[in-house]
């Protein structure tokens, strides 16, 4: 009984007394901000660090797979050669460089918006935010176009039984130099009549499905190759000069006859005409994940843009919210700098 009363007494003193620790006003007395950053900004930085780790996970996995197939990996320069409105011209990197520049530019307008926010200049913030959003939309649009071009493909190839890719081309003399130029399978394959129809669940087993049939069978490609003596097969193997190996005429015919399995055009997650399937998989995942970040960045920017217009931050008397989305936007740009290097340059 006495103990209980004592305990009760203790609890009531704990409730009512503020404990004096003797550290008030000192470093560990609480209430100071050693990092001199607001809660929101800190949390944005923490998010950025964790997101940076996600992206480096993707890029490191790309490096892992590439090191695994270091002598067979597609050469990015030969894959990304397209620029909108310039059909049939080979312009490696030009469009990706343009996209990079657009994103850097929109980062600049974003940082100018943040700067105008510090000076409480509402109209300037509105305009700079507007340009930032436009830049983001151009970038996402360009990426969609890149995807469409990549998925559609242009030359086509034959996948072998071992899962490798055989591409086709011919030596042409350009400016007095013998250069190997790719030739589209559609240009030389001889399509034979085929009774094989696509299996759909309405004309066969209802629980089995099949994708669209390839435009050519391997026999069609082989007959075409036989009929065109100048066309040769190029394998995935990178030779001493850093170029893909071109087979001799006899080897080309023999290789296609013995190992050809199916005609492939463009790319999906399972197979692609550029080389090892992992190349397309990483292209879709890395640029897709980044594109999704840009898209969400654009959406967040639009929300903040309208908040600026209706004067939310003017009333709040600070534009820190613009600074916080700015951090995110710059981070997206930062990631692209790395994707550009490791996917397109190296």
């Amino acid at each position: 009984m006495i103990i209980f009363a004592q305990l009760k007494n203790n609890i009531s003193t704990m409730d009512s007394t503020v404990v004096s620790t003797g550290t008030e006003g000192k470093t560990w007395g609480g209430g100071n901000q050693p990092l001199k950053a607001s809660y929101g900004k800190m949390m944005m930085w923490f998010f950025i660090v964790s997101d940076a780790l996600t992206f480096s996970g993707f890029l490191a996995a790309y490096g892992f797979s590439r090191f695994k197939f270091i002598d067979y990996w597609p050469i990015a320069d030969e894959v990304f050669t397209h620029v909108p409105f310039l059909h049939g011209q080979e312009l490696p990197m030009i469009y990706v460089a343009f996209m990079t520049f657009v994103l850097i530019m929109s980062s600049v307008t974003m940082v100018l918006a943040v700067d105008a926010g510090h000076q409480m200049k509402k109209n300037k913030v509105i305009w700079y935010m507007f340009f930032t959003i436009i830049g983001g939309i151009i970038f996402v649009g360009s990426q969609a176009w890149e995807w469409a071009t990549f998925i559609q493909g242009d030359y086509g190839a034959v996948q072998t039984k071992g899962g490798n890719i055989l591409q086709f081309g011919a030596y042409k003399t350009i400016d007095g130099e013998e250069v190997f130029k790719r030739v589209a399978v559609e240009e030389f394959a001889i399509a034979a009549h085929s009774d094989r129809k696509q299996h759909q669940n309405k004309n066969g087993l209802w629980f089995v499905d099949e994708g669209a049939l390839p435009a050519f069978s391997v026999e069609d490609v082989y007959h075409g190759l036989e009929a065109h003596p100048n066309i040769l097969v190029r394998t995935q193997t990178i030779n001493e000069e850093g170029e893909k190996t071109v087979l001799s005429r006899e080897e080309s015919l023999a290789q296609l006859k013995a190992n050809g399995k199916r005609y492939v055009k463009g790319a999906n997650l399972e197979v692609n005409e550029y080389g090892t399937p992992l190349f397309a998989d990483f292209f879709f995942f890395i640029t897709g994940f980044h594109g999704f970040h840009v898209l969400s960045g654009v959406v967040i920017n639009i929300i903040i843009f309208f908040n600026v217009i209706i004067g939310t931050y003017e009333r709040r008397k600070n534009y820190e919210m613009v600074e916080k989305v700015g951090l995110y936007w710059h981070f997206v740009d930062l990631v692209w700098v790395f994707v550009f290097t490791f996917f397109y340059l190296v």
Binding site: A37, M42, V49, G63, K68, H118, D333, T341
Partner: protein, 147 residues
């Protein structure tokens, strides 16, 4: 935040800008030049840069240690090494000037940069090392399981 002071010098004080806006345009110019250099190198691929700048040392433990220390020059093509260095330069200026890392306290800067740099280097080292090992198994050391 109106009284926010910006540090206006880059290149360790070699260039000092008059205002924050001017610094932003200066950094844009720098980033554009670096990207342009990357694209030009990427398109023309100069023959001289297409191989590593040093050959591996041969001999005992000392040679191995040298190979590890100088691995960036011995096992990476010079061109790729240039690309990686330029990328890090760009990343530095984006983080320091666009994300205002230059104006944050030293502790916030270290909190973010050291954590990320350490973890990313660790991950990249492990995965690339393992990738190279698997490649060597594919090419040289095929192990038969059916005896």
């Amino acid at each position: 935040m109106a009284d926010h002071a910006h540090k206006l010098e880059i290149f360790r004080g070699l260039i000092k800008f008059k205002s924050n806006t001017q610094k932003i345009w200066g950094v844009l110019l720098l980033l554009t030049i670096v990207t342009a250099v990357e694209v030009v190198l990427g398109i023309y691929k100069p023959e001289a840069l297409m191989s590593p700048s040093m050959t591996p040392f041969e001999g005992g433990l000392g040679a191995t240690l040298l190979n590890i220390t100088l691995s960036a020059f011995i096992y990476t093509k010079s061109l790729n090494l240039i690309f990686i260095v330029l990328t890090i330069v760009k990343a530095y200026y984006i983080t320091w000037d666009f994300m205002h890392m230059r104006d944050e306290t030293k502790s916030l800067r270290r909190l973010v940069v050291w954590t990320a740099v350490f973890l990313i280097c660790y991950l990249v080292f492990i995965l690339l090392q393992e990738g190279g090992y698997i490649e060597s198994v594919y090419t040289n050391g095929f192990v038969k399981r059916d005896f």
